[in-house]
Structures are given as structure tokens and as C-alpha cells.
């Protein structure tokens, strides 16, 4: 059974250190972890480092599990493609990397099952170029699941989906994690969804992990202010679920930031004039 523990994980993008000293407790199988943080916080870089796609420092500890080709699967953010390939072919492509050119009947059956579970069977014969952003994300999820990962790193898998599909996919991923006893990490911007569908959260800011724990412990007014620069708090809604109430951008941070920017600009202008 696979577990995941990160120890002093770091990586660079060019010469810039984008992730540093990320150390987590042991993440258990059957759990979904939300990886949260503002844009450019280092979530994608962390995922790429954990998946072995980016070099860097630290140890990715899988417990007693031996790492194989598809043990850790990374699902990158959607980029689109001009390839003349059908959805079905693109999923076969994900499943067959590194193996024989012949596609067996049981492999086709497995793809059928995954398409059915994601309710995208009707897209199978469509060309990739004809899909909407949301449809592409669902296909990308199928491409990742077909590889049968033990640890699944999903980079904003719901960003292009409508509200109904977002909830459906997150609920589905939670079922997959529990049903197949795998570890799922999801980079996500919607903190309410993180609270509702994820077991725990890892907050990242400026490439460093600033919090890790149960979602209700990590996502609070301090996190909103310190990591996202917004004022707000978490309260229970009428269904008894934790829910974020936002008041707006944090005034203090906002004004400080604006004043600093304005002052710098004026100084630059003065220097340029001289």
C-alpha cells in the first residue's frame, strides 16, 4: 500500500527557486488533499517535482512501495492540441506508453469503463480539436485514470468546468481515492470545494508550504488574509458545511501594496527626469 511523504522538497525554474523546503507528514491512501495557494505560488512546480518531471532537492518517500512507471501520475493544466486524434485514441495513447503496439480487448474495455464513469462516452469518436475546454479537462482526467496511478497529482482539473461538472468530478475523484485506495492531490482555487470534497489541505505561498492539515484547520481567516490577501472567515452554512464568507481584498495589504508601488514609480520617474 502506497503512502506519500515529502521531505525538504525543492525545485528551480531556470535560475529561480520556485519551491523550497516542502516537508509533509505521511499522506495516507484513500485520501484527497487539496493543494491551495495563489497563482504562481509553486503548486504546479511542486507537482512536477514530486512526479519526477522536474529535478530538485529533497526526498519523495513512498513508504514500502517501489516506484514504477505509473505509480505517480501528473495531470498537467490543459493546453489544447492540434493533433488529428480522436478522444478514444488519445486515451489509448496514455495507457500504452512504453508497451506493445497492439491494443488488447481488455484495454479497450477498461477505457470504455472510464469513459462511462466520467459520462463522456459520447465524446469518444470526436477529434481533440473539436472539444471545449471543459470537455478537454474531462478527457485529461480519463487519460490520467487509465494509467492506473497509485498517487494522482491533478493540476487545476476543474478550472474550465461548469459548476455541476466541478462538483461531479470532485465527488468522483473522492470516490476513486476511497474505492481504489489511492492518494489524490488536487491543486484547486475554489476553497469551498476544497472544504467540501477534500480530506486535508496543503497551503503553498511563494514556493513554501505554510500549512498542512484537515481542511477546516488550514482554511481559516488567517489563511485568507496571509495567503490570499482577502478578508473573510469560515462559518457553517444551513446544511452544516463549512463555508467561506468573503468581505473583499484585504485593505491593509492592498493599501500597503499600492502605496509601495506608487512610491517606487514616483522615485523612478524622478530618477529618469534627472
Amino acid at each position: 500500500m502506497v503512502t506519500l511523504r515529502l521531505e525538504n522538497i525543492g525545485t528551480r525554474y531556470g535560475k529561480v527557486q520556485v519551491v523550497s523546503d516542502v516537508t509533509t507528514p505521511t499522506i495516507q491512501p484513500g485520501t484527497v488533499t487539496a493543494v491551495i495557494g495563489p497563482n504562481a505560488a509553486g503548486k504546479s512546480s511542486l507537482f512536477r517535482r514530486v512526479a519526477g518531471l522536474a529535478k530538485g532537492d529533497g526526498i519523495v518517500d513512498l513508504g514500502s512501495h517501489r516506484k514504477e512507471r505509473n505509480t505517480i501520475c501528473y495531470m498537467p493544466q490543459d493546453t489544447g492540441s492540434t493533433a488529428v486524434l480522436s478522444v478514444y485514441e488519445s486515451i489509448i495513447l496514455a495507457a500504452k506508453q512504453g508497451s506493445s503496439l497492439r491494443v488488447r480487448a481488455d484495454e479497450l474495455a477498461r477505457i470504455d469503463d472510464i469513459l462511462a464513469a466520467l459520462r463522456i462516452g459520447d465524446l469518444a469518436a470526436r477529434n481533440l480539436g473539436e472539444l471545449s475546454g471543459g470537455q478537454r479537462q474531462l478527457v485529461a482526467i480519463a487519460q490520467t485514470l487509465v494509467r492506473d496511478p497509485k498517487i494522482l497529482l491533478m493540476d487545476e482539473p476543474t478550472s474550465a468546468l461548469d459548476l455541476h461538472r466541478q462538483m461531479e468530478v470532485l465527488s468522483f475523484m473522492r470516490d476513486v481515492a476511497k474505492g481504489q485506495n489511492i492518494i489524490v492531490l488536487i491543486a484547486i482555487h475554489d476553497l469551498n470545494h476544497a472544504l467540501q470534497y477534500c480530506d486535508q489541505a496543503m497551503a503553498i505561498r511563494n514556493g513554501k508550504m505554510v500549512a498542512f492539515g484537515p481542511c477546516s484547520d488550514v482554511i481559516d481567516s488567517d489563511l485568507l488574509r496571509d495567503v490570499y490577501q482577502v478578508d473573510g472567515h469560515v462559518e457553517l452554512n444551513s446544511l452544516g458545511h463549512p463555508h467561506i464568507v468573503l468581505r473583499g481584498p484585504s485593505d491593509e495589504t492592498n493599501s500597503r501594496h499600492n502605496t509601495a508601488t506608487a512610491r517606487k514609480t514616483l522615485t523612478e520617474v524622478a530618477q529618469a527626469a534627472q
Binding site: 498537467p76 488529428v84 506508453q97
Partner: protein, 353 residues
């Protein structure tokens, strides 16, 4: 639930049907290629009856010396050269388009053919050997080294940050102009005899084909095909974008470099033997893509067959257009092939890139 089951069944059934259709298309192309090859053997300035040609093919010892020489030593190497050169150039173009994610990529448009022609001209005009150890293979080796160098320049340039598809094409155009200018300079300096030989490169012609040249080109194709076939899934995955391919476990940089090296071999060898035939490497893969899509298990054989078929059919046309004369094949590929290609693009309602 019933509707869903139906659509899902349609998905996998559709995939199998599509695969079968593609397989049949490949068989049809192979059949057409065999037919074109046969016609290529049967036609020529010396108008022998078809029965004599067939008899000479089946039993060379029964034919007259003249007939045997014409069929086996002149027409056969030319017809086989058309197949192997067409296959090599089209495969090279297909994989360049794949690894550079660029529909305009081909040995000709990115300057690899021009570089090879310049390398050959260096040997012909100045007698310069880029690899002095093998002077007897000076022309093909010069062509190969220049082609390889250019392919590597394009490869490393394409890996630089901020380089887009458009800038690679611009680099290719710059390389074409540079090597053409250098070639013109060599032509200016060349003796009359050397000049005639250099002009041969720029036109492209199969008539000087020999069994040795056919064998070398065929070996290059036969070596390259299994190397590409082994990477069929990885090469197809490249078309989904680097980040997606990487996430599937493909070593993108390594695959690109290995592919570019094989491509430069496939592009350089034909050019060193038959001159610059520009059209095949660009269009062969596009026609293949329109017919069978980009799954390399179908796309690679389709590109090979398309390239071989186009050049073989062009070889026939070059003999038939003006009876008694053989026009340079490089001229015919462009004059006949380009309108044909455009008619395909306009006729096809499907997206082909």
C-alpha cells in the same frame, strides 16, 4: 443509462471500425504503389511492348542483352530509387512535423535539403571533404554532415526559451537563403563541368540512379522505420504537447534529439544521390495525415507509402509528359503535385492540422 451504454459501445466499436478502415487504406495504398512501380518499369523512351518487359522481369536470361540492360540496369534502379527516396523524404518530413509541432516543417522548408546540396557542391566544385577519412564517399558524406549540422541547429534553436513555431520557420527560411547563396557562390566559382553537376542537385533527378545508391537509401529507410516504430506511442504523444507527453512518461528532449538525428540521415542521403526534391517531404505527411490521422502506428506507414507513391507516380509522369524525353523529377513534383495537394486541402472538410 441505456443511451449512455449505447454511446459508449459506439465509442469502442467506432475505434475498431476506424482502425480497420485505416488498415484497409494502407493496403490500398500499397496496392496503388505496386501498380505505379509496375507502370514505372514498363514505361520509358525505348517503347518496349509490355509482354517483353514482363518476360524480362520474370526471366532475365531469356531476354536480349539490350532489353535486360534497359529493364534491370536502367529502369529498375530508377523505379526503386523513386520508392526509396519518396519514402525517406516523406518519413523525414512526417517526423519533423511531429517533433517540431509544425505543419510547415520538412527537410526542404527548414533548409536541411539546401544544406545537403551545398555539402555535395563543396565536394563537386572544390573537392572539399568534410570527413577526410572516407574520400570515396565524399559527396554523400558531405551532404549528410551538412544536413545533420543544420538539423541540430534547428533542434537546439527550437529548445531555446521563447522560440515559437513561427520563429523556427523563419530560421528555416534564413537557412535556405544562406545555403542557396553559398551554393550560388560555388556555382560562380565552378568549372563548366562542375557547374553542370551542381545544377543537377538543384533540379533533382532520378536518372543517375544505380543499384548502390538504391541500396544505401533503402538501408537508411529500413534502419529508420523500426527505430521510429518502437517510439510510435511516444511520438504520437508529442502531438498532445510537451507537458502532456512528459506527464505520460515520455522523455521529450531525448526523443526529439534522437528523432532529429535519424531525420537528418533520411533527408541527407536522398539529396546526396538525386538532388533536391522539395515537395515530397512536406506534402507526403499531410496527405497521410488526412487519410489516417496521427496515430503513428498508421501515420508512419501511410507517410512512407504516400511519399513512395507520389514520387513513383511522378517518375511515370516525367516520362509520359514529353514522349521520348525524361523531365527532371524535382520540377514535376512541384508542378503537378502542388495543385493536387491544394485540391485535397480544399476538398477535405476535416481539420488536417
Amino acid at each position: 443509462m441505456t443511451t449512455n451504454q449505447l454511446s459508449i459501445e459506439a465509442g469502442s466499436v467506432h475505434y475498431k471500425a476506424r482502425s480497420l478502415r485505416r488498415f484497409m487504406l494502407l493496403l490500398a495504398m500499397a496496392g496503388a504503389l505496386f501498380l505505379s512501380f509496375a507502370i514505372d518499369l514498363a514505361t520509358g523512351p525505348a517503347n518496349y511492348p509490355l509482354s517483353d518487359v514482363i518476360a524480362t522481369l520474370l526471366d532475365p536470361s531469356s531476354a536480349t542483352d539490350q532489353l535486360r540492360v534497359v529493364i534491370w540496369d536502367i529502369r529498375m534502379p530508377v523505379a526503386l530509387m523513386a520508392l526509396t527516396v519518396g519514402a525517406a523524404l516523406s518519413t523525414a518530413g512526417a517526423q519533423m512535423q511531429t517533433i517540431l509541432a509544425n505543419p510547415l516543417a520538412s527537410p526542404f522548408t527548414l533548409g536541411i535539403s539546401a544544406a545537403a546540396g551545398f555539402g555535395a557542391a563543396l565536394a563537386l566544385v572544390l573537392g572539399v571533404a568534410l570527413l577526410p577519412a572516407f574520400v570515396e564517399f565524399i559527396i554523400p558524406l558531405n551532404a549528410f554532415i551538412m544536413a545533420m549540422g543544420t538539423a541540430l541547429i534547428i533542434h537546439f534553436f527550437s529548445r531555446m526559451r521563447g522560440v515559437t513555431v513561427e520563429t523556427i520557420v523563419l530560421l528555416g527560411i534564413a537557412l535556405v537563403f544562406t545555403f542557396n547563396a553559398l551554393l550560388a557562390l560555388l556555382q560562380y566559382l565552378a568549372s563548366e563541368q562542375a557547374l553542370a553537376a551542381v545544377v543537377f542537385w538543384t533540379m533533382g533527378s532520378l536518372v543517375k540512379a544505380t543499384w548502390t545508391k538504391v541500396a544505401v537509401t533503402a538501408i537508411a529507410v529500413v534502419v529508420a522505420i523500426p527505430l521510429f516504430a518502437r517510439q510510435a506511442w511516444a511520438l504520437t504523444a508529442l502531438r498532445l504537447g510537451d507537458s502532456k507527453a512528459e506527464s505520460f512518461g515520455v522523455n521529450v528532449q531525448g526523443l526529439r534529439l534522437r528523432t532529429m538525428l535519424i531525420v537528418s540521415l533520411l533527408a541527407a542521403i536522398p539529396v546526396s544521390f538525386v538532388g533536391t526534391i522539395g515537395f515530397i517531404g512536406l506534402v507526403g505527411p499531410h496527405i497521410a495525415r488526412m487519410l489516417v490521422g496521427e496515430d503513428q502506428r498508421f501515420f508512419l506507414p501511410a507517410s512512407i507509402l504516400c511519399g513512395a507513391l507520389i514520387l513513383s507516380a511522378t517518375s511515370v509522369l516525367s516520362k509520359l509528359l514529353i514522349p521520348g524525353a525524361i523531365l527532371p523529377i524535382g520540377v514535376i513534383t512541384a508542378l503537378v503535385g502542388v495543385p493536387f495537394f491544394f485540391s485535397l486541402i480544399f476538398a477535405s472538410r476535416r481539420k488536417s492540422w
